[in-house]
């Protein structure tokens, strides 16, 4: 929907020899990985603005104690949709967009393995987004359960809940198809000579993410289907009165939900692993250990789910196991951070916008990771569970981790996509305003959580007032800063300095051997791959 209005820009570099529909038909029928990547990116940005507007409604309500603008029910609906839209509508599609654009160009393939399925994976997203957004307007409103959809609360909800369930089904199908496509492309379509251990790290992160998605999305689909039958067909999976157990849902949900965290984080790691070496003008340090770390994180992510459930009354032995398993994740994650730091060590650093965002990612993601270590300790987690400390923790990981990394990737590859350099001054302004306002918004939430302010409440006791004011100022500043991206991207699409085929002198990889903007069809014959373009 967003993408159709920008048909013109991709048209500039349309070197197509065998003709394809133009105008809106081009976007509806396209099987071209670049077109589909573009649509994914615009879609995710549109969803990012919708989800962001919802979060500003939350922050406006929380600006002072008392109920000001919205009712508690509507507040619950907004926090639920904010999370569902950000996770499934904004962050995940953004990285699928990067995968579509970049993976074929990185591995020297002409397109994705299943080009038509690729089209279908994308076009499943708008109906799901419409279902989710429209659920606000049905009788009873949207689901007000939080994105975790815990029963029995989710059993009480109106038809907005059913719409959310169907949206999750559709999004899941889209993700599974997208992942099968990406995994198949990576495993089968690499140019001769590019062995797995010479493959760009972004492809590695997506290979593991693809498997995580294929394994975990059906579990979520199963969980919400059980909710649906509990709601409408008289089953009692989650109702004690019928012999079920509400906590069963939480086990199933988090068996999906924890890998989901890494589904979001791993591709972000991938992008950063390209940007930091490029602007350090030095090869990525410890390529092999990076690959092992990615695989280890992916694997362990399936065995830590109940650390989201320390207060549900799981047995002591269960709590101990999940605590130790969770602590294990710190090790490969630490390895990755140390490798990035050592990549910069004795490099020749410059600080263009992609590098700034990658550094911002590194600082803030590390903070989020370290508070994650605090939360891994069951006894401390019980004190902090469902407080703003957790909200701060996962926004440091999700926003500063995934979003900052996506921006690093956007600025890094924008010249390749549009053929123009973006406005560096505006890019830097975008970075600094995001960085500063993000911390103003989310750092004080650690204090709120420590002092005991629960999450998901529309009103709060007076001792929490000051930090909520600060957090609100930061949130509005951060929100409006994001509009700068639109300006930067439109400018680069319209014109600006011509980008060379390799606009960043330290960047390596097959994608940089292509002209900028990248032609509509690339690598119709597999390119020659030599060590100079290898990642490690």
């Amino acid at each position: 929907m967003q993408a159709t209005s920008h048909a013109g820009y991709a048209g500039h570099h349309d070197h197509d020899s065998h003709g394809h529909p133009t105008g809106w038909k081009r976007w509806v029928t396209t099987t071209n990985h670049k077109d589909i990547g573009t649509m994914y990116l615009w879609f995710s940005f549109a969803m990012f603005l919708v989800g962001g507007a919802m979060s500003l409604i939350l922050r406006a309500e929380l600006f002072t104690p008392g109920l000001q603008y919205v009712s508690p029910e509507f507040y619950n609906q907004m926090l639920t949709l904010h999370a569902l839209i950000m996770v499934f509508g904004a962050i995940m599609p953004a990285f699928v967009g990067f995968a579509n654009w970049m993976i074929p160009m990185m591995i020297g393939a002409s397109d994705m393995a299943f080009a038509r399925m690729n089209n279908w994976s994308f076009w499943l997203l708008p109906p799901a987004a419409i279902l989710l957004s429209a659920s606000i307007f049905v009788p009873g409103g949207a689901a007000g359960t939080g994105w975790t959809l815990y029963p029995p609360l989710s059993i009480q909800m109106g038809m907005g809940m059913d719409m959310a369930i169907f949206a999750v089904h559709i999004l899941g199908m889209s993700s599974i198809m997208g992942s099968i496509n990406i995994v198949t492309t990576i495993l089968n379509m690499r140019t001769p000579g590019m062995t797995l251990m010479k493959m760009p790290l972004f492809c590695w992160t997506w290979l593991v993410t693809g498997f995580l998605l294929i394994a975990s999305m059906p579990i979520l689909a199963g969980a919400v289907t059980m909710l649906l039958t509990d709601r409408h067909f008289g089953t009692s999976f989650f109702s004690a009165a019928g012999g079920g157990d509400p906590v069963l849902f939480q086990h199933i949900f988090w068996f999906f939900g924890h890998p989901e965290v890494y589904i979001i984080a791993l591709p972000a790691f991938g992008v950063v692993s390209h940007v930091i070496p490029a602007f350090s003008r030095k090869p990525l340090f410890g390529y092999v250990s990076m690959v092992y770390a990615i695989a280890a994180i992916g694997l362990i992510s399936f065995f830590v789910w109940a650390h989201h459930m320390y207060v549900t009354g799981i047995p002591l032995t269960g709590q101990l196991y999940f605590m130790y398993a969770t602590m294990l994740i710190a090790i490969p994650t630490g390895v990755k951070v140390f490798n990035w730091v050592t990549t910069m060590w004795r490099g020749s650093l410059t600080f263009e916008t992609p590098m700034l965002f990658a550094l911002g990612f590194l600082v803030l993601f590390t903070i989020g990771g370290l508070t994650g270590l605090v939360l891994a300790m069951t006894a401390v987690d019980i004190q902090l569970q469902d407080t703003y400390y957790v909200v701060a923790h996962f926004h440091y990981v999700m926003v500063a981790g995934a979003l900052f990394s996506a921006y690093a990737g956007l600025y890094f590859w924008l010249p390749k996509w549009t053929g123009h350099m973006y406005n560096e001054g505006l890019g830097k302004l975008h970075f600094w305003s995001s960085m500063i306002f993000f911390n103003i918004a989310f750092f004080p939430q650690h204090f709120l959580g420590l002092a005991g302010m629960p999450r998901r409440i529309p009103d709060y006791a007076q001792q929490f007032a000051d930090f909520n004011v600060i957090s609100g100022i930061g949130a509005f500043g951060f929100g409006f800063s994001q509009l700068l991206v639109l300006v930067v991207v439109f400018q680069a699409m319209k014109g600006g300095a011509k980008a060379s085929s390799r606009p960043w002198d330290g960047a390596h990889g097959l994608e940089w051997t292509l002209p900028s903007p990248a032609p509509y069809h690339t690598f119709e014959d597999p390119p020659v791959f030599n060590q100079a373009e290898a990642h490690g």
Partner: protein
């Protein structure tokens, strides 16, 4: 596109009022005149377990601060001295097995070291054996029910509901000192005694939480969970429901009053007398006025959160009672709705929460309030007859 602009319009509508608040808020912060301390850490612990949690958190905080400073000192050095603008030439190294092993092994050792205090704190936290006193806590949408199962107060049982007036929440009156953290009847326990809390819930999952005790346990409908505390200091300790439980999740605080043994004994005696005094005669025949006056109280405490004081509800989730088919229909169906609830909706079964008199009174009230003027009297005996059907 349409969705997006819709949302934007919502935010725009908020803006003028919001700008005013922004300024007011900024002023409050700048002048330091806001009413609260800038709490930067966990609440002051008053149990041994909470102290261990506090210390464990402090230890972890130092560990992560040291790691953060160490890592980013290296980064900062690179950012300053390894810049291209300083003419620094990039080195070409990209592998070193020794350092890779070192930074896998060292964090592992740090984690093992942390695991010891973390494990022992947790083992303490979960040891609910040999309590002096056991209280069953039941979560309702949106209040807490307390029932003393053992000890002197065994048999004492009451509801604990938010005491903050609606006017304060709606900004029509200045907010009190314990805004949203005050209840009509707190849980009262003696100081220095091991109190075991059993949690369960009536409708959805709630969470009973008191930060000063490091207690936070889900209340799951149909299941019992347990936790414990031994408060070392007298005082009033406040917490909140910590699991999203619907509309008024933010409005069901937990208040625990820890009192001396003597005060506790006095409190128990008082409860027992009251218990005897209000023990109802289910065969009493009530007059309409008397019944309606009692019914209004029951309605305000149990029904008004959803169906609203004016009986108009919040349709379609919480239907109106004013002019409702069930209320205006035969009284048996109306009574059964209140007694048994409506499965799959927020309408709870009140059979276990309310006495025969309460149910008779509240149903009579609903049938006579607002525009519902049926003029009917319902006697507790009728409720008794319908129970268990």
């Amino acid at each position: 596109m349409a969705r997006y602009s819709n949302n934007n319009r919502d935010t725009n509508r908020l803006r003028p009022a919001f700008a005013g608040r922004l300024c007011a808020g900024l002023l409050a912060v700048l002048s330091g005149a806001a009413n609260a301390a800038w709490e930067l850490n966990l609440q002051e612990p008053v149990t041994a377990v909470a102290k261990r949690v506090y210390e464990l958190h402090s230890l972890l905080l130092w560990v992560i601060v040291v790691i953060f400073v160490g890592v980013f000192a290296v980064v900062a050095y690179s950012l300053v001295f390894h810049r291209k603008s300083q003419g620094h030439k990039a080195a070409t190294f990209h592998d070193n097995t020794t350092v890779e092993i070192a930074w896998t092994v060292v964090p592992t050792l740090i984690l093992i070291a942390i695991a010891f205090p973390a494990t022992s704190a947790l083992v303490d936290m979960r040891d609910t054996s040999q309590p002096d006193l056991t209280v069953k806590v039941t979560g309702y949408q949106w209040k807490w029910g307390y029932e003393y199962l053992t000890g002197d107060a065994a048999g004492v049982k009451y509801m604990s509901v938010l005491a903050t007036p609606r006017d304060q929440i709606e900004n029509k009156a200045p907010k009190g000192e314990h805004y949203l953290l005050e209840v009509d009847r707190p849980l009262v326990v003696p100081v220095g005694k091991k109190v075991r809390i059993l949690t369960t819930a009536n409708d959805v999952i709630h969470n009973w939480s008191v930060p000063a005790f490091a207690v936070k346990t889900d209340a799951v409908p149909g299941f019992l969970r347990d936790t414990w505390f031994r408060a070392e200091k007298e005082g009033t300790y406040r917490g909140q429901c910590s699991e999203l439980c619907g509309k008024d999740h933010g409005f069901m605080p937990v208040v625990v009053e820890v009192v001396s043994e003597e005060k506790y004994a006095a409190w128990v005696a008082e409860q027992k007398t009251q218990l005897a005094a209000v023990a109802e005669d289910p065969n009493k025949v009530w007059a309409l006025d008397e019944l309606l006056a009692h019914g209004e109280k029951v309605y305000t405490a149990n029904c008004a959160a959803c169906h609203q004081a004016n009986g108009e509800g919040l349709p379609p989730v919480f239907p109106a009672l004013d002019g409702s088919k069930i209320v205006m229909g035969p009284k048996q169906a109306h009574l059964e709705m209140v007694i048994n609830g409506k499965p799959g909706t927020a309408m709870a079964a009140f059979a276990a929460q309310l006495s025969d008199t309460d149910i008779a009174a509240v149903v009579a009230y609903e049938r006579n309030a607002w525009t519902n003027k049926l003029g009917e009297v319902i006697q507790p005996a009728e409720v008794k007859a319908l129970r268990g059907k």
